[in-house]
């Protein structure tokens, strides 16, 4: 376990070095957050129907999404992808550790460290500097805050397990952009990044709740807002961790199959 923890720590340290990228990310996310809030403002003003979520809740939901955008599995781990593309994966295979575990630790670092660096400024900006009706509201209660924090940790693990599959796909397709381009739009849509999942039609709700993607954003955010109570916490965590574990096992199986046919690039 120590090796995985050490790698996780190192990767985090490394990812925290990229300050310019973080600053650019913060600006982009605040800008797009504002645009999305305004779109929903227009939507709420033009509709007199009862909506599944109040405008204030929607605004908070959007800001949380912007702050934690980096946590979504929207890209693969560049480092692992480069390792495979260039053949440096040879060195990873020369280590007495489980490759799946090694790559999963990298993915956990990728999903957590840069996000942590960006989330705090975005949250501060959204809760202090925005016009009052466009502000990020604090959690519904202390219990809600705790439930949100726990499910956010669960979401990191789930996101890492999904991210890892993008890298593993490269063992089959060397240019590999395929999977890593194809899946993220679905992740964004089904995870609630584009539209909160509550706005989807009722008949889709069971499917959306069952799929792993609701565990990435929607469920933690609704715990934050108090739409889900502390009683829903256990179920939410079980959903996240169950999927994370299942996808990690899938990764393990795929890697052990992929390695049998590995061809190391470039001599």
């Amino acid at each position: 376990m120590r090796a995985y923890a050490a790698l996780l720590r190192l990767r985090c340290l490394l990812l925290l070095q990229y300050r310019v990228a973080a600053f650019a990310g913060i600006c982009t996310q605040v800008f797009f957050g504002l645009v999305r809030v305004m779109i929903f403002d227009g939507f709420f003003r033009s509709s007199s129907l009862a909506q599944p979520m109040s405008f204030a809740h929607t605004v908070t939901y959007i800001w949380l999404g912007q702050a934690l955008l980096g946590m979504l599995p929207w890209n693969g781990d560049r480092e692992v992808q480069d390792l495979i593309r260039t053949g440096n994966v040879s060195y990873e295979l020369c280590r007495p550790v489980n490759l799946n575990g090694l790559w999963l630790s990298r993915c956990v670092a990728l999903r957590s460290a840069p996000t942590a660096l960006r989330a705090v400024p975005v949250i501060l900006t959204a809760s202090l500097l925005m016009p009052p009706e466009y502000r990020l509201a604090p959690p519904a209660s202390a219990a809600a805050a705790l439930a949100w924090a726990l499910t956010t940790a669960g979401a990191v693990l789930l996101a890492a397990a999904i991210t890892n599959l993008y890298s593993i796909a490269l063992l089959w397709t060397i240019s590999g952009e395929g999977i890593a381009r194809l899946v993220p739009p679905f992740v964004a849509l089904l995870g609630g990044m584009l539209i909160p999942l509550s706005f989807f039609p009722d008949w889709m709700q069971p499917l959306l709740r069952w799929l792993p993607f609701s565990g990435l954003m929607d469920v933690p955010f609704r715990l934050y807002l108090g739409q889900l109570g502390p009683g829903d916490l256990a179920g939410a965590l079980a959903h996240q961790l169950g999927w994370a574990f299942g996808l990690a096992l899938l990764g393990q199986w795929l890697i052990s199959r992929g390695l049998k046919r590995v061809v190391v690039q470039g001599g």
Binding site: A3, A6, S90, R95, L259
Partner: protein, 327 residues
């Protein structure tokens, strides 16, 4: 007891082929053409502990493939292979914990972090106790003169510096067996000498078995008592350097300096004459014409002020062997 046993190893690759150009690229979409390349075609050898073996062959001969199979990275199609009693690809984790590997064209250190961080990570990966690790690391830092390099991000090191750090990284867990895949590639003369000296001492003092693949025949001459040559996936030669030299008709080289004016030579036993400015070099067969006779003949034509007789460089021997075996 042999440390490494390789018997009849076979590994084939499918290589996609297409001619250059748009039309052929489009054709490739509909139908791929593959050819099968036998990278290893029945390779067998065995190694005793403490040997330092040079593994040579032209590009694409199967050198790296052999190293990758021995390193547990690649699974061969057939054949037997045991390294210290383990089959590398079956017991990968237990196997790789006992070997060190350096790929000269790749880097095992984290690019954006100082080497010291990578060393710490390797300690955790190989589960080396902290005290043991510190002692080994300090020894390597001293021997490879890394003290000033450890705190610089690896990407800012020169190639020679990086290679020294890479060597240290591969030895932190004190493996009894080390694979070096072109460790001196691209290095300047000083770094090459440093790497060679270090590898030699490692082999002599610590008894580490080393398999060295290289294109640099100076590496081989400086280090290896035994040479294995591979070509088109087959072992073509396995023996001492002297034996390799004797594979082709023995030749010596005579270099004469300070030659002035036109020279016309037609001496039996002299194969090749080249002239660069006032320097003349001749390849001759000492069985047909003893060096003393050759020099006597030459001094009849012009004044021989300074000369030197040498063995044919191993480089040329190997090049001739490659040509002879059509590699």
């Amino acid at each position: 007891m042999a440390q490494i046993v390789v018997e009849n190893l076979v590994k084939t690759f499918k290589v996609g082929r297409r001619q250059a150009g748009l039309w052929n690229a489009l054709k490739g979409v509909a139908r791929r053409e593959y050819t099968t390349v036998r990278a290893l075609d029945g390779v067998s050898f065995s190694l005793e502990p403490g040997e330092l073996v040079g593994y040579i062959g032209p590009n694409g001969a199967g050198k790296s493939t052999t190293v990758k199979v021995l390193g547990g990275i690649m699974v061969p199609d057939s054949g037997r292979c045991e390294v210290m009693g383990l089959v590398p690809w079956k017991a990968r984790m237990a196997h790789v914990a006992r070997i060190g590997v350096v790929f000269g064209q790749r880097c095992q250190l984290m690019w954006d972090l100082p080497a010291a961080d990578s060393f710490d990570l390797l300690r955790d990966i190989y589960r080396v106790p902290a005290a043991v690790h510190r002692k080994k690391r300090d020894m390597l830092v001293e021997r490879l003169r890394l003290a000033e390099l450890l705190t610089v991000p690896v990407r800012q090191l020169s190639l020679g510096q990086r290679m020294r750090c890479d060597l240290a990284a591969s030895l932190l867990h004190a493996p009894p067996l080390l694979f070096l895949d072109e460790p001196t590639i691209g290095l300047d003369a000083v770094s090459k000498l440093a790497v060679r000296e270090f590898v030699r001492d490692l082999n002599r003092e610590n008894g580490v078995t080393v398999i060295l693949t290289t294109h640099d025949m100076d590496d081989i001459e400086a280090l290896c008592s035994r040479v294995i040559m591979i070509g088109r996936g087959q072992i073509l030669f396995d023996g001492t350097l002297e034996k390799l030299r004797s594979c082709i008709p023995m030749e010596r080289r005579l270099v004469v300096n300070g030659v002035a004016g036109e020279v016309a030579l037609d001496i039996a036993g002299v194969r090749q004459v080249t002239r660069e400015g006032d320097r003349l070099s001749l390849h001759f067969d000492p069985d047909r014409i003893p060096p003393a006779d050759l020099i006597a003949q030459l001094s009849r034509q012009f004044l021989v002020r300074d000369f030197l007789v040498e063995n044919q460089p191993i480089e040329e021997t190997v090049a001739r062997l490659y040509a002879e075996w059509r590699l």
